[in-house]
């Protein structure tokens, strides 16, 4: 059944972004964009989340935390990298302390461009990720649920 599509719960983490994308993520929750229309809830707890919405270029100190959070999310789950920094390191890509995009640390399913990323773009990205979430859920079901959780590549 396709309930993942109807009730995607978000976990937002700022892996060293400038705040620009983060406040746009929060703006998505507020009346003008109101992502709760799609059943989206910002849970704040990895154990309740389906989508890891992550902003910012990962710096050295955040690497382990991003892994922890991803690891604590129950399957099926998807990762949405929002904003130039999360995709590639953006304007900070040359810095000594920055690893670059999120995909250097955990597998990313959807990339959302922008600097700062617009709320509409975030909605687009999350909507795209839902199809992937459904696919992963079906996959999980097919494997009978006994399989190991997906390993980060």
């Amino acid at each position: 059944m396709a309930f993942f599509k109807k009730s995607p719960w978000l976990l937002h983490y700022d892996a060293s972004s400038c705040n620009g994308c983060d406040i746009e993520v929060l703006a998505c929750l507020t009346p003008i964009y109101d992502v709760e229309r799609f059943g989206i809830v910002n849970t704040g707890n990895p154990k309740h989340a389906d989508i890891l919405l992550i902003t910012g270029a990962v710096n050295v100190q955040n690497e382990e935390i991003v892994r922890n959070l991803y690891g604590q999310m129950p399957d099926p789950k998807v990762v949405v990298a929002a904003g130039a920094c999360a995709m590639s390191g953006g304007v900070f890509q040359d810095s000594y302390n920055v690893l670059g995009g999120i995909d250097k640390v955990i597998p990313v399913d959807v990339y959302v461009p922008g600097c700062a990323v617009r709320p509409e773009a975030i909605i687009d990205g999350v909507v795209q990720s839902l199809a992937i979430l459904e696919r992963k859920a079906a996959e999980l079901k097919r494997r009978g649920g006994s399989g190991e959780p997906e390993k980060p590549s």
């Binding site: 700022d14 620009g20 746009e24 703006a27 003008i32 849970t43 900070f92 810095s95 302390n97 700062a116």
Partner: protein, 359 residues
């Protein structure tokens, strides 16, 4: 026994949109000690000045923080312009003031919402942000970006705002102000809000001075200092005075910001009334040489930009002393002995911008 609860507050925590860590050592829910750990958003931004062209650095300076973005780029540009002894056009100065006041309103409204959410008043958060969106529309219309304005450059601003747009913006602002007044009323009058803020996190005047608080945190403790009194840009030509509150508690800091929003509306109106026609930018001659520091007032307080050029296109040193950094010692002071449920409220009332503080 001596056993205490230690709560890892952050780095990932729903109350903190940005990662910072506090070891909250508690007895019952009383916070005995709060030990911070920072560096989760350190991007090595200042060091990037050594690799980037000083004009490109304006984009990077703007991304010190996505909330105070405009004033960061403005401060950086002011510092470089001072090194280059560059006189920028009056119109550009006025536009900078208008945008920086818009950015102050946007930041304060954002803060009001987050604070409301921190004390569990979700609908108030929603309404604050609903109103804020209307301002973001204005910012996008005038600058092209919603949160990263991207309009400030060394030598002026990158785009002009035509008279018609400015007129419509002023109308929209007037409507916005009326809506905002209702929200401000809830913050300043509602009993449950007062209960969560009055008498909580008191920072006495002497402590505020001694620990080096800046911005609304300082003014909430009754010290009338506002870096805009340095009369940078065209603040000297506008009629205003720093806003202070005496109590020094969360409520006082909140009231300072509430009143500052009204003041910003007024400043925008004044600036729009006085703005003159003309160019918005001048050509940049050569490379910066020497050192300078610029002081500006951000929504969160006074910010200092230190730049040192050696005549090449790369700066030798770029250093920013951000307001949140200055406000952290007072924060740790007032966190001691508070209740766990007051931690988010107290942390928020210094309006922390971790990405500023850690750069």
């Amino acid at each position: 026994m001596g056993q205490r609860t230690i709560i890892p507050f952050g780095p990932q925590h729903p109350v903190l949109p940005e990662p910072i860590h506090l070891d909250l050592v508690m007895e019952d829910e009383k916070v005995v000690e709060a030990i911070p750990s920072i560096g989760f958003i350190h991007r090595g931004l200042e060091k990037m000045a050594e690799k980037k062209d000083f004009q490109e650095m304006a984009y990077i300076a703007e991304r010190i923080c996505g909330i105070c973005s405009f004033i960061h780029s403005m401060g950086y540009c002011q510092a470089i312009e001072a090194l280059l002894k560059l006189e920028i056009p009056k119109r550009a100065e006025y536009l900078r003031v208008i945008w920086s006041e818009m950015s102050r309103i946007h930041s304060h409204l954002l803060w009001l919402g987050l604070t409301a959410d921190a004390f569990g008043f979700e609908s108030l958060f929603m309404h604050s942000w609903r109103v804020r969106e209307k301002l973001l529309d204005l910012i996008e219309e005038t600058s092209g970006g919603r949160v990263i304005f991207g309009v400030c450059k060394v030598g002026g601003v990158r785009r002009d705002v035509d008279a018609e747009t400015l007129r419509r913006a002023l109308e929209a602002l007037a409507a916005l102000e009326a809506e905002y007044r209702e929200i401000a009323g809830v913050f300043s009058r509602d009993a449950s809000v007062k209960r969560r803020m009055t008498g909580i996190g008191v920072l006495p005047k002497e402590d505020a001075r001694a620990l080096g608080a800046v911005g609304p945190t300082l003014r909430g403790s009754g010290v009338a200092w506002d870096a805009r009194r340095l009369q940078y840009a065209v603040y000297g030509e506008l009629d205003w005075a720093p806003i202070t509150e005496e109590a020094g508690d969360c409520q006082a800091r909140c009231l300072v910001r509430i009143r500052e929003i009204f003041q910003s509306f007024d400043l925008i109106r004044q600036a729009a009334g006085k703005i003159s026609d003309g160019p918005v930018a001048v050509k940049v001659p050569g490379n910066p040489r020497g050192e300078y520091f610029a002081r500006l007032e951000q929504p969160r307080g006074e910010v200092v930009y230190y730049v040192k050029g050696n005549g090449t296109k790369n700066l030798q040193r770029f250093r920013v002393r951000t307001p949140t950094f200055a406000n952290l010692p007072p924060l740790l002071k007032i966190l001691q002995g508070c209740e766990l449920s007051d931690v988010p409220v107290i942390v928020l009332t210094i309006d922390p911008c971790i990405s500023c503080a850690e750069r």
